[in-house]
């Protein structure tokens, strides 16, 4: 890292400054658990939001002490279902964040929301609390598939909530999951065209992934999850998605994310460009540079455990580990090759100079999977859908 070079200490910046500084807050509660979701979510009827607010505020203060003087670029409420939070809880958290860090003038404050009427009723209050972008879990635009995905809303609910959202916020994104059971390429094209006609400035389009530890995972292992598209069908869907979105002014800027007129998710871009982010709440991860060392932080997964720990000990960490220079380079590639701009080769440090690594790049360039330009390494359109395989070949010894 450049900061470790003392002769340049005056000019040196810490690596994270290449990408910015964000705050992630995890609200772990949901009304129901979705069968495909492997995020840390819990169903609970009784949540004492005042206790949770105090815990969040206390953690913000603790991290503030470690990262004093920084400018905060983004805040993201993720979950779980953060739209289940009381707007006062959101307001209280943002107040603490504002007291702790200097906010960037164009700070982006996003909140994930379920597209139901109950939550849509709170949108204005969230906006008044400071939220300026929502990301809605629409997931599908037909009722049968919404049911299969375990969603509680209907297409009509979703569209009504979306209308409310676009009136409340300038910036609205929504998620769809595709490559679903029994979905054909033609089905997806119709649905995607409708989505593009609705979209405001951002779309996240995820291929359904069967994760172990989920209800879908268990069903899949027992051979009961039928009708999933094979590799060729899902590749066709991916290609169609890229082309159709670009045609409609929503080019992809990341594997699964599309933005109009550059309205990218600045918070997520901090992850992909390997900036620093503080992660607060049960199961939240962070990467925070403290005294020149990049630290990886984790927290307890169980909501009650995290809450009690913060209240009793004043710190919500489960593990705090230094990320080695080599691991930083690997994470930087893993995240950075997902986005169009790619990875700044200088930031890879020693790895970027290893002969073996450079040979791997050459081989992958020959296959038209990677390319270099302006000091950056990025995947080609051909390489992007193969990114996992590209990474394996890139990092092999």
């Amino acid at each position: 890292m450049r900061s470790q070079n003392s002769s340049q200490a005056v000019l040196a910046i810490e690596d994270w400054q290449n990408a910015g500084f964000g705050l992630y807050l995890h609200w772990p509660f949901c009304q129901a658990k979705c069968p495909y979701c492997d995020f840390n979510s819990h169903v609970s009827d009784h949540v004492d939001q005042r206790r949770w607010l105090s815990a969040f505020r206390s953690e913000i203060a603790r991290y503030g002490a470690l990262t004093g003087g920084r400018v905060l670029s983004t805040i993201f409420f993720g979950g779980g279902t953060p739209s289940l939070m009381h707007p006062d809880t959101v307001a209280g958290i943002l107040e603490a964040a504002q007291e702790t860090w200097t906010w960037a003038n164009d700070i982006e404050i996003s909140l994930e929301a379920n597209p139901t009427s109950i939550e849509a009723a709170k949108f204005d209050a969230f906006r008044d609390a400071g939220v300026n972008r929502v990301s809605m879990g629409m997931q599908a635009l037909n009722d049968a598939d919404l049911k299969r995905l375990g969603r509680l809303h209907s297409v009509d609910d979703g569209k009504r909530a979306f209308e409310i959202a676009r009136n409340s916020f300038d910036r609205v994104s929504f998620d769809l999951i595709y490559a679903r059971q029994d979905q054909t390429l033609a089905d997806w094209e119709i649905e995607l065209r409708e989505a593009l006609s609705m979209a405001v400035d951002h779309l996240s389009l995820y291929q359904l992934t069967i994760e172990s530890g989920t209800a879908f995972g268990a069903r899949y292992d027992r051979g009961l999850l039928r009708g999933l598209p094979d590799e060729d069908a899902s590749a066709d869907m991916y290609e169609l998605t890229q082309a159709l979105c670009a045609d409609h002014g929503f080019p992809s800027y990341e594997v699964s994310n599309h933005a109009k007129n550059g309205a990218i998710s600045k918070h997520n871009m901090i992850y992909w460009t390997y900036g620093d982010y503080v992660g607060i709440g049960p199961g939240a991860h962070g990467r925070v540079t403290v005294e020149g060392q990049k630290m990886a932080t984790t927290t307890p997964l169980m909501p009650s455990k995290w809450l009690n720990q913060v209240e009793k000990t004043g710190a919500g960490d489960a593990e705090v580990e230094t990320v080695s220079a080599e691991d930083q380079a690997v994470e930087m590639l893993m995240m950075g090759l997902r986005v169009n701009q790619g990875v700044d080769l200088i930031r890879l440090g020693d790895l970027g100079k290893k002969e073996n690594f450079l040979n791997n790049i050459n081989n992958l360039e020959e296959m038209n999977l990677l390319e270099r330009g302006s000091g950056h390494l990025r995947v080609t359109p051909k390489g992007r859908p193969l990114l996992n395989a590209v990474l394996r070949d890139l990092l092999v010894d």
Partner: protein, 599 residues
């Protein structure tokens, strides 16, 4: 030393699972040879693999003291022999050391192929044979039918067959009485010079080589200086004893007796099975007929999955070879698999046993290449090469003709499955020699090329007959056929470990099948991969493995960095376990699976 008239030496002949080991356990228990508290199942099968698979690999011996109904005390020596065809040779030499056999047949199953193979060996050795019908406690038991079958198929009188349940103990006493009354006592001259047969030998970490002997004439005592007639080597006997089945030292072994000696011998290879042992001074010069040494017939390459374990593998193989003279090995290098060993085995089971022992006892993960037989390659200049590895096949222009080993296979099968068995044998280039019936069971005899059998014949046979067929074989010699070496090219590069010898008429079919298999076994890469089978330079089959089209994580945010990094590391480790051919990674299981035929 025991009076000759009071000795009975016998073995037990049975098909696998017909209850041989359980019967041996009962005989040992009934006579009080082993205290009940020391009793465990399959007492004579010492190795884990023997117990697990329910098979006997090494011959084992037990001396049983039995006071018969006539009031006389007898010494019964049981040599328990392997039942499997791979170890037929061990069976034949053990048979020479005893005078009688119990023929154990499962009364619910009837005579099977291995019953036949082993009983013929007993008949060859002039044994008196006592039929025993086992498992009479089971509802499906049908003693009359099975007795009739023994008379029809084997041709020995089964009217007095003893009905036994080794499980419940019924008939065990009758069996002991039959051993005493029906089997002959050995003959021998106690006053003649020492003449003993070296029946078997194995290595013990504490005692050195243990030699199992059968005394023909004279006496053997502790402290004797003995001489091996084959090479004149002299050893000082430091221990003599018998097995009960634990080792028990005694002072003297006399004519007709079976026991062991140790004489500070370092290697099993220094003791030739079948050799004649006598005293250094005043010994006999009259050697026993002896046995020809057993020859490996099946060869394959064993390579460590982790190349760094090559030296460990060498160590493991050398240690195993100390105790198994029938197993041969030499170093082999493969472009694909790195350093390993080309090993020779008595048969497929022997191969599996050795491989399992290396993996289990020495904790080395192995890649096993396709088994091959020994081809006789006659060159134009008249020279004959024994080809153990298709990769070593000389240039075709130098070759005059190739001969391959053939076997006589005996298969017993319920007639419902006969059609499938005949088809299987025909598909494997078999020539039918005989087809007879015993009740509803057919006995087919085929002349088959060994190379069609060594690989997956037995698996296929079990599968097409739902496990109802039994199979045994013996080598019958070499015959010329139109054989060619088929190479497999992956992404235009030949993969030596996948080369096989095939019959020219079947090469296209085999080549297509292998290419199709490999197409499924090799994961998609980021480029398309041609997979070809070729003879010489000519491609005879081709498949194309399409390029990978999609492998990307859909969602990857801040919380995923650590998890996805671990996943990536795991995938990288998985990639390391594969073998690289040019730019292509081939999973290790492909080297065996590609050769399996589905029909």
């Amino acid at each position: 030393m025991t009076d000759l008239a009071k000795i009975r030496n016998f073995s037990i002949v049975a098909h696998i699972d017909h209850g041989k080991s359980t019967l041996a356990d009962r005989l040992i228990q009934e006579t009080g040879t082993v205290q009940d508290r020391d009793m465990k199942e399959q007492l004579l099968d010492a190795m884990d693999i023997e117990r697990e698979r329910g098979i006997t690999i090494k011959a084992n011996t037990v001396r049983i003291d039995y006071t018969a109904d006539d009031g006389q005390a007898y010494v019964l020596n049981l040599i328990d022999t392997p039942g499997h065809v791979d170890f037929a040779y061990e069976v034949s030499r053990s048979m020479r050391a005893v005078e009688g056999s119990l023929l154990v047949v499962d009364s619910t199953q009837g005579v099977e192929a291995q019953t036949l193979a082993n009983v013929y060996q007993a008949i060859d050795a002039d044994h008196e044979i006592v039929p025993v019908l086992n498992k009479i406690d089971l509802p499906a038991s049908d003693c009359d039918r099975v007795a009739e079958q023994i008379e029809d198929v084997i041709g020995i009188d089964a009217t007095d067959a003893i009905q036994v349940s080794a499980k419940t103990g019924v008939g065990i006493h009758e069996t002991l009485e039959a051993i005493v009354t029906k089997l002959p006592s050995p003959s021998g001259d106690p006053d003649a010079p020492l003449k003993a047969m070296l029946v078997d030998s194995w290595y013990d970490a504490y005692l050195g080589v243990i030699v199992l002997v059968r005394i023909i004439d004279g006496h053997l005592k502790k402290g004797d200086k003995i001489k091996m007639l084959s090479n004149g080597s002299v050893h000082h006997v430091d221990r003599i004893g018998v097995f009960r089945p634990a080792m028990e030292t005694i002072d003297t072994l006399g004519p007709g007796e079976i026991g062991f000696l140790t004489a500070s011998i370092k290697q099993v290879r220094d003791t030739r099975v079948g050799d004649t042992i006598t005293h250094e001074k005043h010994g006999t010069t009259d050697a026993l007929p002896g046995f020809k040494p057993s020859q490996p017939v099946v060869f394959c390459g064993l390579f460590p999955v982790d190349n760094a374990q090559f030296e460990d593998l060498r160590d493991a193989i050398e240690k195993l070879a100390l105790n198994d003279a029938s197993f041969s090995f030499e170093m082999e290098t493969s472009a694909a698999l790195g350093f390993g060993f080309r090993c020779g085995f008595l048969g497929l089971l022997h191969l599996e046993v050795i491989r399992d022992r290396i993996e289990r006892e020495y904790d080395i993960e192995l890649i096993t290449t396709a088994p091959s037989v020994i081809y006789h390659v006659y060159l134009r200049d008249g020279e004959m090469i024994e080809l153990h590895n298709p990769a070593d096949m000389p240039d075709l222009s130098l070759v005059d003709r190739i001969e391959e080993p053939r076997i006589k296979a005996t298969i017993l099968v319920p007639d419902d499955y006969l059609g499938d068995v005949l088809k299987l044998c025909q598909d494997r280039r078999g020539i039918q020699q005989d087809l007879t019936y015993a009740g509803t069971r057919a006995m087919v005899v085929y002349d088959l090329p060994l190379n069609e059998v060594v690989f997956d014949f037995y698996d296929r046979l079990k599968s097409v007959t739902k496990g109802y067929a039994s199979f045994d074989y013996q080598m019958i010699g070499y015959r010329q056929d139109f054989l060619v070496k088929m190479q497999v090219l992956v992404n235009e590069e030949p993969v030596d470990a996948l080369s096989t010898m095939v019959h020219r008429d079947r090469a296209e079919m085999r080549g297509r099948a292998m290419c199709e298999k490999l197409k499924d076994l090799i994961p998609r890469h980021m480029f398309k991969i041609p997979i070809q089978a070729a003879i010489g330079g000519r491609v005879i089959a081709r498949e194309t493995l399409a390029a990978l089209r999609k492998d990307v994580t859909a969602k990857c945010y801040g919380g995923d960095a650590t998890r996805k990094k671990k996943l990536l590391e795991k995938q990288k480790a998985g990639k390391k376990k594969m073998r690289q051919f040019g730019k292509v990674d081939i999973p290790q299981e492909a080297f065996i699976s590609a050769l399996k035929m589905d029909s």
